[in-house]
Amino acid sequence: MTELDTGAPVVPETAPPDRKARADKGFLSRAGIVAAVLVVAVVLALVQSGSGLVVWQSVVTGILTGGLYGLIAMGLTLIFGVLDIVNFAHGAFLAVAMFLSFGMVQATGLHPYLTLVVAVPALFLLGAAVHRGLLSGAGGRSLENQLLITLGLSLLLENGLLMFFGAEPKTIALPGDFQFPLLGAVVAGSRLYAFLGAIVLGGLLYWLLRRTRLGTAIRAVAANAPGASLVGINVRRMHTLTFAIGTACAGAAAVLAGPLVTVTPTLGEQFNITAFVVVVLGGMGNVVGALVGGLLIGLVEQLTTIYLGGQSSLLGVFVVFVLVLFLRPQGLFGRRA
């Protein structure tokens, strides 16, 4: 990262080749360990349940759900990587977008996925407003203050939704939803669409960060804000834009996930927890890591259900979380986006 301190917009890859090779080797060995642990976990699950079909179904469901977790976590990790804000309100933004989608489907009978056109810009604006109004400036600088403001915001949004929509759970029906068998496992169309949508959006975000001027500016701000402002980047505007893009990700994820879940004002909380785990697992600020971490956490959740049964699927997620926090706090693929 030191190369960026010079502020040169185009820096040739100056790392000595052997260091790069070593980094690649470390990355590969970690990926190998993760894959090995996964294989062992799947085998254990096979032994535990004694039915290949059950395990296969969980793996498929886990991966499909994991894509969605990845998409939610991408927004969170972007915000954390660039602004250093632990956004406790991310789940609440998700819930807001879901109710927005629900409200529009109810009122106009639109196809649920078409509400993306409204939900994503709306959440983008909401994110921009929140950042400008609450988080930027002196009052939002220290870590405790940011935690508390986003925490207060999530309470505000969730209970605002509770006041206006009530607590009774709602569903968003997907017209023409279907199910098809995949080597014995049953896959719902809505789940598959959500997964594919998450991958596409993830790719878009990656492209935005890697291949556009805006993305380069965002990464420059993340690497070194004073340096970025020296070469003429408006740091505050980049922060606002990044926060807004992050919340827009939550908006997109909400629309995609809408048909899969029962919509309640507090559902964001559950997603928020999972998203934090994914963010830490993938490395804070690493967008691709978030997608991979999402898939892993989706699998962990499903496999825990096989091991322990019942409602404890989150327990395995937290065990993984604590292990990663203690042993590898920079994440499995610790590298900034």
């Binding site: 632990v86 405790e144 925490l151 505000l156 969730e158 927890i273 404890s312 979380f321």
Partner: protein, 349 residues
């Protein structure tokens, strides 16, 4: 260094007129007066307000506990529900399964919570979790405990425990008729003791180490402060006080389940009063608990018989939390030191 030696005499010139009492004695005297004033309250207040007063005291216990760790110690905890729940469950378990007095259960709960806090704290400090990572780790542990309790048969899974009712009232079993002032007095004693302990702790030798470590861990360590031991001590004390709140909560509401004990809402309820009152101040938790406790009651009565323009809200829940969420955001933005912290800064000027 020179700036410090120059600044020191000018800064302390007003403090030279030494107060007749040492600060901790002054604070303890104020506390004694507050407690004395509070004693006749349940006899004056109507029954409904009496319940509010008890709730304020429960908030106060949690807030004092959180403030010791996160205010004095600077370790931002987002998982105090863990200790609240351990206190509640330990005392309820001992009472229901082994017929042990809740007073002893309370002590046991304090011990369990402190032990768990030391273990969690040890690993967190050993692996140098800081800031956001520490907050997330405490949160993860609280949620793990909630999930474990929810799936453990010996803790009655998601049903939780109900305190067995007895015919007459008994101080030994902390059980009185529903609107008896005795609940308030018991809570008052507990809360008063907790505030007193926090005052004594803050001004003790250990407390000075703790605030020094909070302000600059590296400097404190290089001057010979035993960092790890004092951090663990702070965490244990904080957890023990929070456990008392949990144990009393169970006795008062006669019921506890995993969400009431370990839910993340509990952690938030421990944080919010302190933020509003002032993090790291002695009186912040007191002021904050009074504001939050009465706010909940005011909104509840408001929604029971809403005025015209709020008619659409009748029967809806959530308004109280919305109000205190707004309050938290405003306080953090406008008065980052909280009400007490800001007033104290003004007073000193």
């Amino acid at each position: 260094m020179s700036t410090i030696t120059i600044a020191a005499p000018t800064g302390s010139s007003e403090a030279v007129k030494a107060p007749p009492l040492r600060p901790q004695n002054k604070q303890l005297a104020i506390l004694a007066i507050l407690v004395l004033v509070a004693i006749p309250l349940p006899l004056i207040l109507p029954a409904a307000q009496g319940a509010v007063a008890v709730r304020i005291l429960i908030f106060l216990l949690m807030a004092v506990g959180w403030n010791i760790m996160s205010g004095f110690g600077g370790m931002f905890s987002f998982g105090h529900a863990a200790y609240f729940g351990l206190g509640a469950y330990t005392s309820a378990y001992l009472l229901v399964k082994h017929n042990v007095s809740p007073w002893i259960g309370m002590l046991a709960g304090m011990a369990v919570a402190a032990a768990v806090a030391v273990v969690i704290g040890y690993f967190s400090f050993r692996y140098k979790l800081q800031g956001a990572y520490f907050a997330l780790a405490t949160f993860a542990f609280a949620e793990m405990l909630r999930l474990i309790v929810t799936s453990s048969t010996f803790a009655n899974k998601s049903v939780g425990f109900s305190v067995p009712l007895i015919q007459d009232s008994s101080l030994w079993l902390i059980q009185f008729p529903a609107d008896s002032p005795a609940y308030f007095w018991v809570a008052l004693v507990l809360a008063g003791a907790a505030v007193a302990i926090s005052i004594v702790f803050l001004h003790s030798r250990a407390g000075r180490y703790v605030t020094a470590i909070r302000d600059d861990e590296l400097a404190a360590a290089s001057l010979g402060a035993p960092v790890l031991r004092h951090k663990l001590m702070t965490v244990a004390l904080s957890a023990a006080i929070t456990a008392v709140a949990g144990a009393f909560y169970t006795q008062y509401y006669l019921f506890v389940n995993p969400d009431l004990g370990f839910g993340s809402a509990i952690s938030i309820q421990a944080i919010v009063p302190v933020v509003i009152g002032g993090i790291g101040t002695v009186w912040g938790p007191v002021v904050g608990a009074i504001i939050i406790g009465s706010l909940t009651d005011v909104t509840a009565t408001l929604l029971r018989t809403p005025p015209e323009f709020l008619g659409f809200l009748q029967g809806r829940s959530g308004l109280d939390v919305v109000l205190y969420a707004v309050l938290v955001i405003l306080i953090v933005r406008l008065l980052p030191k909280g009400i007490v912290g800001t007033l104290a800064a003004r007073w000193r000027r």
